[in-house]
Amino acid sequence: MLYVAVAAGAFRRYATYRAATAAGLATNTVFGFLLAYAYLALWQQRPHLGGYGPAQALTFVWTGQALLAVALIAVGGVDELQERIRSGDIAVDLHRPADLQLWWLAADLGRAALQLIGRGIVPLAVGALAFPLALPADPATWGWFLLSALLGVVVSFALRYLVALSGFWLLDSSGLALISALAGMFFSGMVLPLRVFPGGLADLAQLLPWAALLQVPADVLTGARTGTGLLRGLLFQAAWAAALLALGRLVQAAATRKVVVHGG
């Protein structure tokens, strides 16, 4: 299948960026330690903050670091699409007998898979060695976590795809991309778990699509979501994924109908 080959190609391509992966890995690990000590201090003051015990809070931190490159910042991925739209290289993509959104989704999944292996596993392992984490013993829970992380990547992609497509109308979509990335950091739970947010904000944040990027997968891994809670979490992610992908298709249709390919 074409799109499987696209994903595999993206995987191989990101595998060639060894130095970047190593540097990112180091960053994730260092950040993990900083955040873990901050969380430890916080949870010593306020045990059971947001309903998490200290071990769960630490697990949340290291899951966040594991998914940072995969779904949050998504280094590479759709940034490149944004740049292609800006420079007009998108013309090449549009000449292909392939669906633009599926193509880039496939490429982003390939990238995410490489970054999960290259930049996800090690921080989580380091975290587990250095701190008492609440990691599941049950392989099924790991399976649900992977599924949830996959859905998170799809939601993340769909959001970034929309931002990138705005480049067809805006001369420069990098401002929007920055705002979107910051919103993503805050509302995904990367800074603090969403359940720790004050009252109304916590409820609101858990309805926004960014919650699908980290909050839900981390809750699945820490065991904060089981049974129907787990199911509801996955449905929440799938619903946002479907809605945002559909919106992306609408915008894509509008873009290719009315819009302009930059450059000669």
Partner: protein
């Protein structure tokens, strides 16, 4: 066969493209401007032709190609390629055309060339036998064999260009669009690409539309030239016709037996230079040299002669400079020089 296979492969009828651009006018105010990039183009390209598309920077060449491939929607007029409306049937048409943009690449930057071709095979669902045969042919003619395992980012511009040409042809497109395919290539690479394109057109019958600023491309490849300026067709015909249309002058160089005063009294020609026994006479490109030669031979001791065609660069520069003032009507065939 597909619809429209009987008629011309490419048909444009009054095609327009108007861009709306916003410009700053004062601190906050912005004014909207209309740029007529393509302004009422009408032409047809039959199957199997190789057409050169010329024009100064900003004339609307790339914009025309983008409409032909369906990635830009025309603002007006009618456009058909292989019976399809490109903008509406972009994905369907994409299977039947090949596109090479000189300044951009379709190849996977960080992966070996062969990986890109494998992707092309899947994308166009090329049967394995066809794929193997086409790849073998292109790699041989373009000398890509040793490069298939090399990551694209390590290729030189000329190598990458040949790689892109191959990628555009593996699925046997009916028409190949090339936007400045020889830009930045050295003489050897240019020659390789030209030979390849000629073979493609004559042996395989692929229709080729190419834009270029290199007039040698046109001279060596295209029987038909279209010149566009400010989005309008200012010339459509063969090279000889272009020479005539541009009011170019041919030059008759005569060697006389001895040094003489400038040749005089030959109707339709004027002497532009004298150097010892050799004299240069200019005459209109549309005219034959024979009567001139006869008239000179009758009155002067003629030893030798040669005719020089006008320099095509100068002709085209002249056409551009006039900005299409002398716009031929569609179908207005310029007389070919004898």
């Amino acid at each position: 066969m597909s619809a429209g296979s009987a008629g011309p492969l490419i048909e444009l009828d009054g095609v327009e493209k108007v861009f709306t651009v916003r410009r700053r006018a004062g601190r906050l105010r912005r004014t909207r401007h209309e740029v007529r990039a393509v302004d009422g183009l009408t032409f047809q390209v039959p199957r199997g032709e190789m057409v050169g598309y010329l024009g100064p920077n900003g004339a609307g060449k790339s914009t025309t190609l983008k409409m032909l491939t369906g990635i830009l929607v025309p603002s007006g007029g009618r456009l058909r390629v292989a019976g399809l409306d490109p903008a509406r049937d972009r994905l369907r048409l994409a299977r039947r055309i090949g596109v090479v943009l000189g300044q951009r690449t379709t190849l996977w930057w960080d992966l070996p060339l062969a990986d890109s071709y494998d992707l092309v095979r899947r994308m166009y669902r090329i049967p394995p036998a066809v794929f193997r045969a086409n790849l073998a042919r292109c790699t041989e003619l373009l000398g890509l064999g040793p490069l298939l395992d090399v990551p694209v980012r390590q290729l030189s511009l000329g190598q990458r260009m040949r790689g892109d040409l191959t990628a555009a042809l593996l699925h046997d497109p009916e028409v190949l669009y090339l936007d400045e395919p020889t830009i930045g290539l050295d003489v050897v690479s240019k020659a390789t690409v030209r030979t390849f394109l000629r073979e493609l057109n004559t042996e395989r019958g692929t229709t080729v539309v190419l834009t270029t600023h290199d007039l040698t491309d046109i001279e060596q490849l295209c029987r038909r030239v279209m010149v566009i300026d400010h989005g309008r067709l200012v010339f459509d015909g063969d090279l000889a016709g272009l020479r005539a249309a541009a009011d170019g002058e041919r030059t008759l160089v005569v060697d006389l037996a001895r040094q003489l005063p400038p040749i005089d009294g030959v109707p339709g020609a004027r002497t532009v230079r004298v150097e010892g026994p050799r004299q240069w006479l200019a005459f209109p490109a549309g005219h034959s040299a024979a009567p001139l030669v006869a008239a000179i031979a009758a009155r002067y001791p003629l030893v030798d002669l040669s005719v020089r065609e006008p320099d095509i660069e100068a002709l085209v520069a002249d056409l551009y400079a006039r900005g299409g003032a002398a716009r031929p009507q569609p179908g207005d065939e310029a007389p070919a020089s004898p």
